[in-house]
Amino acid sequence: MNKILRWLVLAIIVITALAPILPQFVWSFSHRWLFPSLLPSQWSTEPWEYVFTATSRVGEGFFNSLAIAVVVSLLSILVGLPASRALALHNFRGKSAIEWLLMVPIIVPGIVATMGIHQVFIRLGLTDTFIGVCLVHLIPCIPYMVLVMSSVFANYGTELEDTARTLGAGTFSVWRFVTLPGILPGLLVATMFTFLISWGQYITTVLIGGGTIITLPMVLFPFISGTNYPNAAAISLVFVAPAILVLIFTSRQLGRESSVMGGFGRL
Amino acid sequence: MTSVVLRDLTRRFENVTAVDRLNLEINSGELVAFLGPSGCGKTTTLRMITGLLLPSSGDVLFDDRSIVTVPTEKRGAVMVFQKHLLFPTISVGQNVGFGLRMQKVEKKEMDRRVSEMLELVKLPGFENRRAHQLSGGQQQRVALARALVVHPKVLLLDEPLANLDANLRLEMRELIRHIQRELGITTVFVTHDQEEAVMLADRIALMFDGVLQQYDVPQAFYQQPSSVRVAHFFRNDNLLGGTRRGDQVETALGVLQIDAARQRILDGAVLVTVRPEDVNLTPNPEAGNCVEAKVLLQVYMGTHTQVQLDVAGHTWLVHGTADFQARVGDPIRIQLPQPRIWLLPVS
């Protein structure tokens, strides 16, 4: 009985996971697909051809999104990693206040901040620029980096590093051969988060990028709202592909290591 | 007060048999230790008694009634683990009262029994503390109180002292012994420490590789081990081959007299053993049962001297007095006292 119920639940998980994605494959190859046919009456590769034309700006959007997500992730690591380590392994005055401060952007809606930053960036000339978009994406990314990595650092501790140091390893060697391999699974997950958060940003990019910096969601949006489903589906799939790739690399860590995701419990 | 019977109890995992046709009777109110090296199946057996693990075959009986089909939560077999496993989100008092709350015992009655139990484990007034505020020994005592408060039919302790330091362990052993006597709860205690088993248990069940080797009172494991392995586990490796004929054993070093009535092995090939502390290193010249040996090594141990001897090609350990002196390589005459000789089967 219990077993049947479990398999039923598992079947539902698989079906619901795929249901919004798989039809998009079919849509992306359809020309005419009217109600009530279960498959397109006319197949076509037009949507995909469209995706690869310059006028669609899909390519431009893709590479902009990718470049922004990579830069944002690197900046998040650069800024977030030392902070995570300090929060996890050092004790200092005002630590819990700092912890809270760094978490605020993901538990308080960022709408006011985004609008406010927009005003400031206009004055600083950062609107319509690549770096301006990167900066605004950093706001939700840093908290995730710190959340995941401080838990990872706390769990990893310093004993192994101390051991390595007593064995004569220098600062760089300790980092390279002891710390980095130890935190890498966690870092992978944290970077996945920052990458995907930046990858999926819409309104912040619209506002700060001002239509000059075109990213994938901005290319996709009008096709969905304009109900041009074949093109929307094809662009969606372009949009999804890197994300799924990222998940394949990190799924194991997401599922197993409790210290990686466990950080969310201490918020 | 409940008696426990294990009948042909067997548990297989994939292709490993963790427990193999175990037969055992535990009397009501008895404290039995399951002893053996890690991986010998003692914890598996314990889990089958609690019902956390189903046996592959065989039966578990409480008071002569099979309880294999009774779910864990209705068995009344309460387990205390190696880790204290106190619920971290609730207070010590709520932890102790957990089982009573599950039975929907009335609040007043619950508080009374909780404070009574905390007193019994010598933690009176600790109700409002949190588990993490207590020391390791205190945590384990709370875990014990949590188990005892529901008046279990059987109390199962899975190496509850393994995480404690030596002094605390001694203290806890006495506490467990004291409480167990006072409440008269049938108790099974899993340990890999033979000293602990000997100190605590009424009877010891020694297991190797999922098979019960010997089930007896503690003294028997010293004086009458059932096999070479059992003797070895109780730190006796003194062996000498021979052939039994009635009340004599012929060995390479001559004929030894034995107490025939005490032995369990019939005439034929046997192994002679005498515990390290029973070998006489300084016999009278006219004493019987003496053999020639050679001193290999001696180590001063404070309370005694540990002497390593070569006895007909076997290495023996013998405890001499603290002031025992001999030179390495010297021949020595030792006596194997007749009442102390025990015959083991040749494996």
Partner: protein, 290 residues
């Protein structure tokens, strides 16, 4: 020597400084500018006098309250349903069984998928001419698209909620799963030998242990949904829309004088979110500790 100990003291602050500075400058700086503008400090249109006029304007508008209610309802329902479903599914997935890695992967599948793509997928699925409607027609359940229940651009926001559910259940679930894995089976085993049945083991052992994780993630989800823009814009009714949509529409209006109003609206939205989150955390903690 003194220099070394000074270094030791400054180490942690120096490590935190970049992150803290970034967040303060960007987030809190933005917040401050927004707050100023909502109070009438807006140099771009030569307005410097502080006033509560814009708040008054916002609060006297019925549309604002309708949108607020819609926003709140959507966020609350999505959060509660996601949390409950996530806990239930995590409890199933934590068991080890053949293929559990595959199923865990499938469960996580929607985590990396952008909300916009999810929204497109849900529309293709549940609109009146979507896959489900076609399936219903093939089975003879409906005769025409209009017989299929309206789930897109509907007032209850069915498609919006489905999109959030599809995205957030795995997010909360993965955290719960990780916490469950950290807990291990032994607490439940202890509870079991102490006489707790399966409901009691869930209620008195597991739930209190996973609650912090559920609480934090559901707060993140609530804050996200409460302030999100593109999903309600794509899948929701024009009227009442949600507050973030309303605020951004005002904000992006060519008429700059609407901006302070948009800011006031967003500030109110933020304050309400904070109040709700604090209340939620209190309530959940209280409910579990009982």
């Amino acid at each position: 020597m003194r220099w070394l100990s000074l270094m030791e003291k400054l180490r942690a602050p120096l490590m935190i400084l970049p992150a803290v500075a970034t967040i303060i400058l960007l987030f809190f700086g933005g917040l401050l500018v927004g707050l100023g503008q909502s109070l009438g400090y807006f140099p771009a249109i030569d307005s410097y006098d502080l006033t509560l006029q814009y708040y008054a304007e916002v609060l006297s508008d019925n549309i604002f309250f309708e949108s607020l209610w819609q926003t709140f309802r959507l966020a609350l329902l999505s959060t509660v349903m996601s949390s409950v479903l996530a806990i239930a599914l995590a409890l199933v997935l934590r068991q080890t069984f053949k293929g559990s890695r595959f199923f865990t992967f499938m469960f996580q599948l929607s985590i990396p998928i952008p909300h916009l793509v999810a929204a497109a997928g849900i529309v293709l699925l549940v609109s009146q001419s979507g896959i489900l409607a076609r399936g219903a027609y093939a089975l003879g359940l409906i005769d025409a698209p209009r017989d299929f229940p309206v789930m897109v651009f509907d007032r209850p926001g069915t498609a919006i909620q489905l999109t959030y559910l599809w995205k957030e259940v795995p997010f909360i679930g993965v955290v719960v799963l990780a916490v469950l894995q950290g807990i291990g089976p032994q607490y439940e085993e202890v509870a079991r030998t102490l006489g707790a049945n399966s409901w009691q083991r869930f209620r008195f052992v597991l739930l209190p242990l996973i609650m912090p994780g559920v609480l934090s993630t559901s707060i993140i989800v609530f804050a996200y949904v409460f302030a999100s823009y593109e999903i309600p814009l794509l899948l929701g009714v024009r009227h009442p829309t949600t507050l973030p949509v309303l605020a951004f529409q005002n904000y992006q209006d060519p008429d700059l004088s609407l901006r302070p109003q948009a800011m006031a609206m967003s500030i109110i939205l933020t304050l309400i979110a904070i109040v709700l989150l604090v209340a939620y955390k209190r309530l959940a903690n209280y409910a579990v500790s009982r």
